[in-house]
């Protein structure tokens, strides 16, 4: 890759993880945000340059990195596609399944790489889980449990579920992708959602084609909790599990630092954000697949939409046929 300039669109929460990772990978970063937060981001991380217009990016960069709010993913993605620029898009790939499919199809037809940033596949504990399961450590996956919880977001657009898709598309979409990665495709979902005074919990039960079952729990809490993720995966021969709160490699007591309550803690030496971006750069260079593909991003949204429909209708949603059917049970 000769041109090593990335166009980062959006300067909010997740951009704080991407910008330092790009700089660490030796990229120059042009940051554009329609909000006024780009200069602050650049100053905070001591790198990158502010671009005042989006066109400035599209004309000069080799990779577009979309870290803007969910409802802009689709239009920004198509703008990048127009310029045939390989694009990494923060999850979810789009606000709706239809938009995600259009985007993925568009990139595929033009042969331009599109990479949904399902970063949890690059968190070392989840990668270790996948490797161990593939190696047969626990036999055939049978019952899986994934939990993800953090404080309710304070930003306006997150709280508007029409724009963000709520806790389902913000947090649970990660574990939807991981459950598929570990135990395969999904045939049926059932879910419940409770939104109460600013807290939001979604609990989903997935049935995999293999017969395995998964329970996903995602919570935005108004209570002052630490960001936390857990998994507990059992197969025919054993159990594997992890809890981000159980064995922290670093703990401290003292005043909280600003803006670190929306991202999970990670080890800088194995930064999952750096690993994720590096995987995309590698795949652009050598043409091979990334660990998570555009199709995976689309499938995660397909399942998420079924979960949303199940929660709204109080019915199980069958995904096993080409045309979805609502269970009559």
């Amino acid at each position: 890759m000769k041109n090593k300039t990335v166009g980062l669109i959006g300067a909010g929460g997740i951009a704080n993880a991407h910008l330092p990772a790009w700089l660490d990978l030796g990229f120059d970063v042009l940051v554009h945000s329609i909000a006024d937060d780009a200069p602050r981001l650049v100053e905070r991380h001591g790198g990158g340059r502010v671009a005042t217009t989006a066109d400035e990016l599209f004309e000069s960069v080799c990779i577009i990195d979309i870290c803007a709010p969910t409802q802009t993913h689709s239009s920004l993605g198509f703008a990048a596609l127009e310029h045939s620029i390989p694009t990494i898009c923060e999850k979810p790939l789009a606000r709706t399944l239809a938009a995600a499919e259009l985007l993925a199809d568009g990139f595929a037809e033009k042969g331009v790489p599109l990479f949904p940033a399902h970063v949890v596949r690059y968190f070392p504990e989840y990668a270790a889980l996948r490797d161990a399961v593939v190696a047969g450590a626990i036999g055939e996956p049978g019952v899986l449990r994934f939990t993800r919880q953090g404080q309710s977001p304070k930003n306006g657009w997150y709280l508007d579920s029409a724009q963000s898709g709520g806790v389902l598309l913000d947090l649970m979409i990660h574990d939807i992708d991981i459950a598929r990665w570990i135990a395969g495709d999904i045939t049926r979902v059932f879910a419940r959602t409770r939104t109460h005074r600013g807290s939001e919990s979604t609990q989903a039960v997935l049935t995999h084609t293999s017969g395995a079952v998964s329970q996903l729990t995602a919570t935005w809490a108004t209570a002052p909790i630490e960001f936390r993720t857990q998994f507990d995966v059992s197969g025919s021969r054993g159990t594997l599990r992890s809890d981000s709160a159980a064995k922290p490699t670093y703990t401290h007591v003292g005043p909280p630092s600003a803006a670190d309550d929306i991202l999970p803690a990670f080890d800088a030496a194995t930064s999952p954000y750096r690993a994720e971006l590096a995987d995309f750069v590698r795949s652009i260079d050598d043409g091979s697949d990334t660990r998570v593909t555009a199709r995976d991003g689309v499938e995660a949204i397909r399942i998420a939409e079924a979960i949303a429909r199940s929660a709204a209708s109080e019915r199980a949603i069958d995904l096993s046929h080409d045309h979805e059917e609502v269970s009559a049970a």
Binding site: Q149, S214, T222, G238, A329
Partner: protein, 344 residues
């Protein structure tokens, strides 16, 4: 006070006998006539001998002994007949969970106890956990604000020490029958309501070394249950027998996470363990007060005072059976089901 342990089929009988032996006022006997069906397992008089408890040959011998109370530890399907007989004899009952294998049987048990005026308690010992009592007190005080949702797990190994657990005819079912009731009972007590909508899925993968989802003729080993309560609270429960045989006790037999609007609480009532290693592998030892002891203490006190309000009672047991029934109906239907109302 004369107390008889009816059957040694459920291994909790061993814990209850040990707990009863700490009550000098209790004169104790055991009987295990059906133990002869399982010659490969240590049952009957030889087991009673190792436990240091007097043994009677038959249930009729027990009734002729005129006990004040009985502890029913038979195979699940046999609870109904034994409790109904105890009610006819006017004898107080502590019954192992689940109270019965059908809603009809469980309702008949509660009804018979009411008519006979006997104490009927269901063996749901997690209710006596200090961690749970602290959680309940905190919720009542409003420490958590309003409860939004709950996630819970009760995961253990397949109980292979007794073959009947995995024989549907005797047990009524597998992991869902065995494990969902503890958590459901805590939630019923904590929320002061019972669920109105239940969704469940199950498979036979955990422990199935031959591969595949079904274990022919056996019972489910994985179960996930999703509950909705009339107040709007939602709960997710993992009740699987998903721990591999030989798992070290890491104190997670039951866990409950309660998300409230102003606080989040988590309990692990069995987490009081010390851990270590020797040349053979992991070492774990539980410490602190046994929940079975607290259950037995409460039952003995209830019998002594003829206190029919002692908890968890027969209705708590019935609520558990209703939930199990709904979970199996949901598994069969492939969708959520409403909890069936029972005329009480």
């Amino acid at each position: 006070m004369k107390i008889a342990v009816l059957s040694l089929a459920h291994t909790h009988a061993l814990e209850y006998i040990a707990a009863l032996q700490r009550h000098p006022e209790a004169e104790l006997v055991a009987t295990d006539p059906d133990g002869a069906e399982s010659p490969a397992e240590l049952r009957g008089a030889p087991l009673a001998l190792t436990l240091g408890v007097d043994y009677l040959e038959s249930y009729e011998d027990v009734w002729a002994w005129h006990p004040d109370a009985v502890v029913v530890c038979a195979e699940n399907v046999r609870h109904h007949d034994l409790v109904l007989r105890a009610a006819r004899e006017g004898v107080h009952v502590l019954c192992e969970k689940p109270l019965a294998t059908t809603v009809q049987d469980a309702a008949a048990i509660v009804d018979a106890a009411d008519r006979a005026g006997i104490v009927l308690m269901t063996a749901l010992p997690v209710r006596f956990s200090s961690a749970y009592e602290e959680l309940r007190a905190g919720v009542r005080r409003g420490d958590l604000g309003e409860i939004v949702s709950v996630s819970a797990a009760n995961c253990g190994s397949i109980p292979t020490v007794r073959a009947w657990f995995t024989d549907k005819v005797l047990s009524g079912g597998g992991a869902v029958t065995d494990h969902v009731v503890h958590v459901a009972d805590l939630l019923a007590d904590l929320l002061q309501e019972t669920p109105d909508d239940v969704y469940a899925v199950a498979n036979g993968i955990p422990g199935n070394r031959d591969g595949g989802v079904e274990i022919a003729g056996l019972v489910e080993t994985a179960g996930l249950v999703s509950l909705h309560y009339p107040s709007g609270v939602i709960a997710a429960v993992d009740c699987s027998w998903s721990r591999p045989a030989g798992s070290a006790d890491v104190g997670d037999l039951v866990t409950l996470t309660v998300i409230g609007t102003s606080g989040v609480a988590e309990i692990a009532p069995f987490a009081s363990i010390i851990e270590g290693w020797n040349e053979h592998g992991a070492l774990t030892y539980g410490y602190g007060l046994s929940l079975d002891q607290r259950l037995i203490d409460s039952f003995v006190a209830a019998v002594a005072q003829h206190d029919r309000t002692a908890q968890p009672d027969g209705r708590a047991g019935l609520a558990g059976v209703m939930l199990i029934d709904a979970a199996y109906r949901s598994i069969d239907a492939g969708g959520p089901v409403r909890l069936r109302a029972v005329a009480a």
